[in-house]
């Protein structure tokens, strides 16, 4: 059995144009080590590809125990053009927190 990102971290989504950035902030050092190792760009891409995501940049901010994922083309054209119910993608942080990780290496 794996562990949900929701157990390890909190998250916030923001938008610029057709790009969403989602921060994932660990609750503690153990969670941070697990996230850092296992919440890879590939795993995130698998969770967001069906929404149109075509590239992911992943940044680490050690002092905040935070990862920042910058996901391109995931907002159906961005807030001004999108046909979606949630054009900003504010709800996408919850999709990130629903990703299941292996709980060890």
């Amino acid at each position: 059995m794996g562990i949900l990102v929701h157990e390890l971290a909190h998250a916030r989504a923001g938008d610029k144009g057709n790009t969403s950035n989602i921060s994932v902030i660990a609750y503690n050092d153990t969670a941070w080590n697990l996230l850092r190792r296992n919440l890879t760009s590939d795993r995130v891409m698998r969770a967001f590809a069906h929404l149109g995501a075509d590239a992911i940049r992943r940044y680490e901010v050690e002092s905040l125990r935070a990862l920042n994922f910058v996901i391109s083309n995931v907002l159906a054209g961005g807030v001004t053009r999108s046909l979606r119910l949630d054009p900003h993608g504010k709800a996408l942080s919850a999709l990130m927190l629903g990703i299941e990780l292996p709980d060890s290496d």
Binding site: S23, L51, R81, K90, A91
Partner: protein
Amino acid sequence: MNSQDKRLRVGVGAGMADDRIGPALQLLQQCELDYLVCECLAERTIARETLSRKTGASKGFNPMLEERMRSFLPLLREKGVKLVSNMGAANPLGAAQAALEIGRALAWQDLKCAAVVGDDVAERVRRHPELPLMDRQRPLEDILPRLASANAYLGADVVRDALATGAHVVMTGRVADPSLFLGVALHHHGWSYDDLPRLAAGTVMGHLLECSAQITGGYFADPGKKDVPRLADLPYPFADIHHDGRLFIGKPDGSGGRLDRMTCSEQSLYEIHDPQAYITPDCVLSLDGLNFEELTPDRVAVRGFSAAARTDTYKVVVGYFDGWIGSGEVAYAGINAVARAQLAAETVKERFRMDGGEASEIQVDLIGMSSLHGNFPDTMSSVPYEVRLRVAARCPDRKSANLLGDHVRQLNMQGPYGAGGPVNLGAREVIAVDAVLIPRDWVRPEIITVGA
């Protein structure tokens, strides 16, 4: 304590165009502010205001300006607090004049207001169709015939200069959100516009405060996991920024919401891409090493930021017409609800085409199943008791956009059985936004004062 050590206290009066007024009044009344900053301008707001000003439907500035000014001005005067805001939108001078008139009606005879103008660069960029669009990665030429507005994100220097006129109220158009706050600190502390550690401090202050309650417990609660005390009573934040660049974020003593490492960390990365290179008109900010220390339940110390020199360009938001969007909704419940919603969607699409409706894209959402996170196995694995169907289409004209919603509306009599609450949500004209970079010397901001 010499005068150089005195803290500057900057409160937030709004973090979006239609933000609540009450928490701003709470800060003015309780927190001994020196300045109140209202950030009210989303990316596309100027394009909309430019249009509605042309058609005479609005004055081109923030629709809540008058309500805010009537509420704020008596307290600003009584407490000696100055106000800076981008509520000017597409008409900063009109906004300054409106603020002045309200002040005079409230018997503030020596009120002085300043407008920052010159962010509108539409005529200038029209002459440069070769500029690359940052989002679409196509030349500006593609959208020039449909251009609605082009406004440069001005920096903190214009806010500093506007305050230097002695104005009590400063109204701007497009100024980068953090720059509204940094400009206050530049003026108050007399910092050099090239002092990178202090530009970093003022920019972090602005970045953390610009979304009002998003740092004091808004956009945060997850019951049982991340609880927020007295969410209904969420306060706005303020910052104390010292001459040497020391920075603290606070909220009113004993107020609702929460302000701590977790809320600050979430907001610090909000709408940031590379945390080591957040580009503003004033500097390139790095959050590498950023940390927050909880001093009291209402106060946090912010440390660990730096900046590199600003770039030689301004970012310009361009707004352009991009067709129409029409939409409608209807709900189904009980046995076979999802199948009825899906049949309804197919029926709407077919009738829309039979009636000559034109759409380049049609979006079908099952609210309760797949409208927010899309179709993936988890969302489709359990059958909800009820579901609301939403159909939206991108159309070339208003007629088609309206037609789509009409067909959803008509499902009550002409679709599957049991159509609950069918509505045509109407047609709206789309103003899309993109951005270009231009040389700094294309922009000539000016300060105009009125009153006193």
